[in-house]
Symmetry: none
Subunit: 403 residues, 2 copies
């Protein structure tokens, strides 16, 4: 049983709008055990839409489409689909009365939005005007959902997914499991995964490298997830020293869990990350349980007057001495168990011959002492990538330090 | 001349990864004047890929594909495409020597990554191992780019787009121009834009409201951008008081330009934004010319001990009194002309009856005094949206304050 996702919208093809709808639908369908076999985004217009339906139905049983259901002149999806399946329109009194109650008679498009293809099942839209539509014609199912994300998500969750589960219960479904590792790269795991694949041919293995961490995903179509345990355990055993989570790639989340469990407090002293390090930590709910704060000492004056750094004149802002003093200062000022400091030349400008763009010093202070490290960042990274890389790398260091 | 974008990747179909590559490519191709007619995302595997190539080449002249070029076992794109066009492989000594110089001989996949389809033109990858490949076979062009966004973007910008422009130059292209305004909403500009549209029928006008600002985009398919000047000037004249940029919607950039010009310094005291406010400001190059730093006082202890806040016991962390003390404290501590403070209940939890989620207090301190404001944020916003909204709103306030 395969599902294709179809998006109708010129604004997506022009790059004006990021297509988050297919991401949402893919994630929720996959979580429910269904297999999404294709995404297709086509232009507003009868011809591209009909061609997409023909081609997709040749290999898929279900198509879920988003977009083109609104009241304006460029919204033609309903009409093209009714024509495709050879059906007329009729006014739905239920939809009409609901729209009247919510929007009043002043809404010009009331009649139009309540006039729907005659054999389509209606999936109510409680947040907007265009209902979702479920077509089941000759063994092929096509679902039309509006393109506004909040409306699409509400209709999908409350009506479309329950109808799908009822219409097509799964005997076997897609089970998957992800393992996240730090301080390891894809070349180190690839030979082992290739060998595993030969011994577990029914399991799909994917390797997903990212900044500072690596994900390995195992998946299989089965009745339950039991077949994943053995290969997952082999991977865990082989790379135990680098493993940090089987629930989320987010190193900050793993760190928070560990620090809260140990009752430890963390503070930061940031220079080149400019607040992005703290923002990463505080993006996770309940970060206040362990995160005290950050001194974003972007100017040298703040490094000296707030953090008490004394090495600037002698060693410069990007130096081992300065990050050690920053971490010590932050730990003392905010009274925390651990403090991390970071100062570097994030670029694009500001590099010198001795300290090129990408030179980043960081330090971790604790009651055991303070140690500085030169972060293995790469000079061609964007600032955002460099920040991600450095944060992930420091998190890995800290996670392996706290036992 | 039509271009289709093809993405190869199960992780996107499973909803694990958001497909930002097609968004980037669509935007840059559209800006260059090309028409993107379809996006298609298919599973890793020979069959889906070959079928997509057949179907897309039936209606398009160019396909740009991303993903599946890496060295690991699940990366099969190169092989499937070589087979599709009926060509063998040969080792590129140029690519091999380049990889050797950058990665050393320890990289296992060196030989593999340098062995490429024999008739493909190589688009160098200076940031990773897999080069882009340009196939021109029987009047159909297929370009393969790696899936890692930073590598894909670099190859596209430096090699793929220039090759495309050379291969298929455009006589007329899409020209556009955007104007950015704060403290104004779409209802205030819509009647004027409709009237303009009737007088300039060849120009497309778009209104893009966002958090704290509004963009108006003018575009036209033409030989040059001369037709945009007259309507743009009419818009500027009408809404001059709200205008802040014709280059970037980024209010932070506009603020930086103004503060640097006036020789003013800014500091922050953040609570609910958790560093994201500073991160936004420091994401702009040379922010250190005016930005001193931020005290991310996530814990009450830091608010009191670092910023000298005294009102917490009496008024709570989210209150007019506290943000005024935070701003005053930050301005004094970091010795700056202006300080902004912010403290609120960003959610999803932590709201009370008196102070529901979305209650955000902010203050601006200067030598003229300190004033607090209740930010008009919305409770259903995500934390990221709330931060964006608040930052943009405060920036607008500050921009209209500094004359």
């Amino acid at each position: 049983m395969k599902i294709a996702l179809l998006t109708i919208g010129d604004e997506i093809l022009a790059g004006s709008t990021l297509n988050t709808n297919v991401h949402f639908l893919s994630k929720h369908l996959t979580d429910a055990g269904y297999l999404v076999c294709e995404h297709r985004i086509v232009s507003d217009g009868a011809e591209p839409l009909k061609r997409a339906l023909d081609e997709l139905f040749a290999t898929c049983d279900y198509i879920i489409s988003t977009g083109g259901l609104g009241p304006t002149v460029d919204d033609i999806t309903r009409h093209v689909v009714a024509d495709y399946f050879g059906m007329g329109f009729k006014k739905s009194e239920l939809v009409y009365q609901d729209l009247l109650a919510r929007y009043g008679s002043s809404l010009d498009s009331l009649e139009d939005q309540a006039t729907l293809p005659e054999r389509a099942k209606i999936l109510p839209n409680t947040m907007g005007t265009a209902p979702g539509l479920w077509f089941d014609e000759g063994g092929k199912v096509l679902v039309l959902l509006p393109g506004v994300p909040s409306q699409m998500e509400a209709i999908f969750t409350s009506f479309c997914l329950p109808t799908l589960i009822n219409h097509c219960p799964l005997e076997e479904k897609l089970f998957s499991l992800s393992l996240y590792f730090f301080h390891i790269n894809e070349n180190q795991v690839d030979p082992f995964i290739r060998e595993l694949k030969s011994r577990y041919p029914a399991i799909d293995f994917g390797i997903y490298p990212s900044y500072g961490f690596l994900g390995i995903k195992l998946s299989a179509i089965a009745r339950d997830d039991s077949s994943l345990a053995a290969p997952a355990n082999e991977i865990l055993k082989k790379f135990q020293a680098y493993f940090y989570s089987d629930t989320s790639p987010n190193l900050a989340r793993a760190l928070q869990e560990k620090m809260v469990k140990k009752g430890l407090k963390l503070g930061l002293a940031e220079s080149c990350t400019g607040g992005a390090f703290a923002a990463r930590l505080t993006a996770i709910a309940d970060a206040s349980q362990y995160f005290m704060g950050s001194v974003v000492s972007y100017s040298n004056h703040v490094k000296e007057s707030v953090l008490g750094v004394e090495s600037l004149a002698k060693h410069g802002a990007v130096s081992e001495e300065t990050v050690i003093e920053m971490a010590d200062g932050a730990r003392k000022l905010m009274e925390c168990d651990y403090a991390i400091s970071i100062s570097g030349i994030a670029g694009p400008t500001g590099g010198t011959k001795d300290k090129p763009v990408g030179t980043i010093w960081a330090a971790i202070a604790s009651k055991e002492g303070t140690r500085a490290m030169l972060v293995p960042a790469r000079p061609h990274f964007s600032r955002a990538q460099m920040v991600s890389y450095t944060i992930d790398w420091l998190m890995g260091e800290l996670l392996s330090t706290i036992n």
